[in-house]
Symmetry: C2
Subunit: 487 residues, 2 copies
């Protein structure tokens, strides 16, 4: 671990320089990262296809998203208002006590350790959202390469290092640690006193373990673990009476998209047991049966899917409604599956509340809307919830809307949870156990807020303040000055 | 504990209503709290004087601040922009995938448990900053009354309940638990599954214990513990060469103000050992010797002060520079004390880094500016740091400015840390162990952000969105719409 200790020291030294690099210069660095990743060309795509079994089109799309994210943070830095500058000017004539001048802005917290996701080898891995947002915030980053795509991770890391060098960033602003499969390197990184925050995307067990470690440190640090979610979908009766077939077709696609290997995959569907729901199941089943099996990310993920799927199917009262009937050509191809169970059984059996990572969805048949509400109220925290309803049902069922809002970060009306738009209004993060900190988003420009803290300057000479807080507003950013927003 | 369980259940039920109460109605509630506290009149002041030994003028001032805080949050709610509304409108023509409509705002998280401070029986207790900010956020509050001012707490709690009733707030929106001195009630409240966040102001031991408990819950929750701080003050040589006497007079007042019972009390002073520092000590000592001893908050706090003071004075190489020479008339009057020690000893002895809560300050004599920097780099997280320097020294010593910035929430130039302005730009909260979460402030309007999380609505019909997110912007608040701030 001595070499990792040296990396952490160099990272802390880099922070002393990088924290003061201007937004415009950090933006140049992020744009250079985007360029260097693009310059890796098809060699990168080819490597990742070999390592992850993901198809070329998907990887091209994900690479585009990764590049977009780097540029999005560059845009945010160039615009500059994200630092939430607040200025309260002095009032020396105030009685009984004069008012001093105080100014506040967000500042970076130090080295961020990033654990990438197996299911997003670009967009939530080495140069993904966590890395880009931390670098944008002004924090050096140390990435623990994901063993499932080690060569991809190394290639992207080298691209970042080239970008750092050609834009004159301090040595140590980014580092890549190849830790293999074991937990020891990850533990060492999280416990290292120079680590100031952790970003993680992956399983509940892994994310929760890092969270617990970080809180046991002499100096606890924030851990942003984005973990499992079953993304409940509620099918309301009126909607189903007019659109059961259409909804079934949409969901057959959403459940099986990318072999179900998305954190927003709809793993749980709740409906009121009636003829429309039966029709929904019939249409959904027919679609699922025709899904062509595709390879999962790796053997470990496939084995995990298969064992959890079998466990779910073997639970009392669980009925297998449909499995893909297309013959598999390789073992690690996932069998898309939809099962159903009655609500009473579901409420009594915690095993059925667990995520089955892959193209699996469980449909819970409720006796009526009252039981549907009860089921929702017994669900744990989720990234998303979805309400398939008519507009009339939305307004006549506020209790269902409220119950869904309570447990999720994003509530979708009449849509599917898969497909996470990268934008300001996106909240990707929900109440525990979906995430360890529901107060922050892992997607979109606001993800930068995970790696900063507010800092006040009292009675400081104007010329020595950060540019963001100087009287003249040299960066022309939005600021709250004496209780008013202004530019 | 059965009665407390009932209180928590009622609080959770109240949340289902209160979360949807409009900002304007919550503002009416907060203004009613301010009125009801004022209506308690001198009976409240008298009771608190008996319970805390604090003088009338101080309590009148603190009551004024408490009322101001309630009104400040009411103003914030009436203005409305604090919810950070973000709207990304749909672009159905986008290729390859259409863009859906997504909107995000901050929403309340649920019941907040508040542990008040002994040293601020109004402003950081029953109706203090934590309670006011949580109620403003839309969260019900359960206050564990501080045993050191139990009657004060009960009177204020009754005022809040009257305000809730006359403004039509749901039953259970506020509750007061009289838990006595033991830890059991506090532990039960923090561990209760319906508790969603904790606000605490007090000792490191108490605050850290609550933080650890909250992280051991099946569902961990955020704990905002504002704990100890020694608020280091750095005396730079050039400043001391022109103003040692003036600085000494300012600090004699700051160290002993309110018997030193402030979380921003300057407990550590760092200077370069020379004739100017000796003059500073001489003038400071003369002032300290003439400080009239005043009663501390209670016998426990006095005993704690006296024992920690004696321990500090008994450490090797520590010199007692001055003690108040005015005779005490009652045992629990604090003896104002200034001691000094050389920097090498200070660096080697962790006991000297600990807070002595009361009118005590330790002066660390450094050989030169390099050693001064070393000492700063070895300090833990603080609420504040202060730099007594000339403007020239500020610009010629960026390394000292940076080192001070790294460890604190608020950096003061040429002033004293005592006196915490309640305003937007105030950051009251610093890196661990000053606080358990340096990303949030316990003072000022931004304190509301501790008790909310972002929530997104995707593809929602306009009329069913919260008013803050509707197209027409009916509340006329500042919003980020398609990447632009607008009203």
């Amino acid at each position: 671990m001595e070499s990792i200790h040296q990396i952490m020291r160099q990272s802390a030294e880099a922070f002393q320089v990088y924290r003061k690099v201007s937004g415009k210069e950090k933006a140049r660095f992020l744009r250079a990262i985007a360029e260097e990743i693009e310059a890796l060309g098809m060699a990168l795509i080819q490597t990742t296809m070999e390592e992850t079994n993901l198809p070329e089109a998907r990887l091209l799309g994900e690479r585009g998203r990764t590049i977009f994210q780097c540029k999005m943070f560059a845009d945010l830095l160039e615009e500059g208002s994200w630092v939430e500058a607040r200025i309260d000017t002095a009032d020396l004539a105030r009685t009984p006590l004069p008012k001093v001048d105080i100014r506040k802005m967000l500042v970076p917290i130090g080295t961020v350790v990033v654990f990438g996701a197996s299911n997003f080898p670009y967009a939530y891995s080495t140069a993904g959202g966590d890395t880009a947002s931390a670098l944008a915030a002004g924090c050096p980053v140390v990435v623990k390469g994901h063993p499932a795509h080690a060569r991809t991770s190394t290639m992207v890391a080298e691209a970042i290092l080239r970008a750092a060098e050609r834009t004159g960033m301090p040595k140590g602003v980014f580092a890549h640690v190849d830790g293999g499969n074991g937990f020891e390197v990850g533990k060492y990184l999280v416990m290292h006193p120079l680590t100031k925050a952790v970003g993680f995307t992956g399983s509940f067990i892994g994310g929760k373990a890092l969270f617990d470690l970080a809180n046991q440190r002499p100096e606890p640090i924030p851990v942003f673990s984005e973990m499992g979610s079953i993304n409940p979908v509620v099918l309301m009766p009126e909607k189903m009476s007019v659109a059961s077939e259409d909804v079934a077709l949409k969901y057959a696609a959403s459940i099986t998209q990318g072999a179900g290997q998305f954190c927003t995959n709809p793993g749980l569907i709740l409906g009121v047991d009636n003829a429309d729901l039966s029709n929904f199941i019939k249409v959904l089943a027919k679609e699922i049966e025709q899904i062509v099996p595709v390879k999962m990310l790796n053997a470990g993920i496939y084995q995990n899917y298969e064992s959890k799927r079998v466990v779910a199917l073997s639970q009392e009262n669980v009925i297998a409604e449909a499995e893909s009937l297309i013959e598999r050509t390789e073992t690690i191809q996932a069998v898309s599956t939809v099962a159903s169970v009655d609500a009473d059984t579901f409420l009594d059996n915690p095993t059925l509340h667990q995520e089955v990572f892959g193209p699996f969805s469980l449909l819970v048949k409720c006796k009526d809307e009252a039981q549907l509400l009860t089921v929702i109220q017994h669900l744990e925290g989720q990234l998303t919830t979805t309400l398939m309803a008519t507009e009339a049902e939305l307004s006549t069922h506020p209790e269902i809307v409220d119950a869904l809002r309570s447990i999720c970060g994003r509530l979708i009306f009449d849509g599917v949870p898969t497909g996470v738009e990268v934008c300001f209004a996106m909240q990707h993060g929900g109440p525990f156990p979906a995430c360890t900190d529901a107060r922050f988003s892992a997607v979109g420009p606001d993800a930068i807020k995970r790696f900063v803290r507010p800092a006040s300057f009292q009675n400081f000479p104007n010329s020595l303040l950060p540019a963001e807080l100087q009287n003249e507003n040299p960066l022309n950013i939005w600021r709250m000055v004496d209780n008013n927003w202004q530019k």
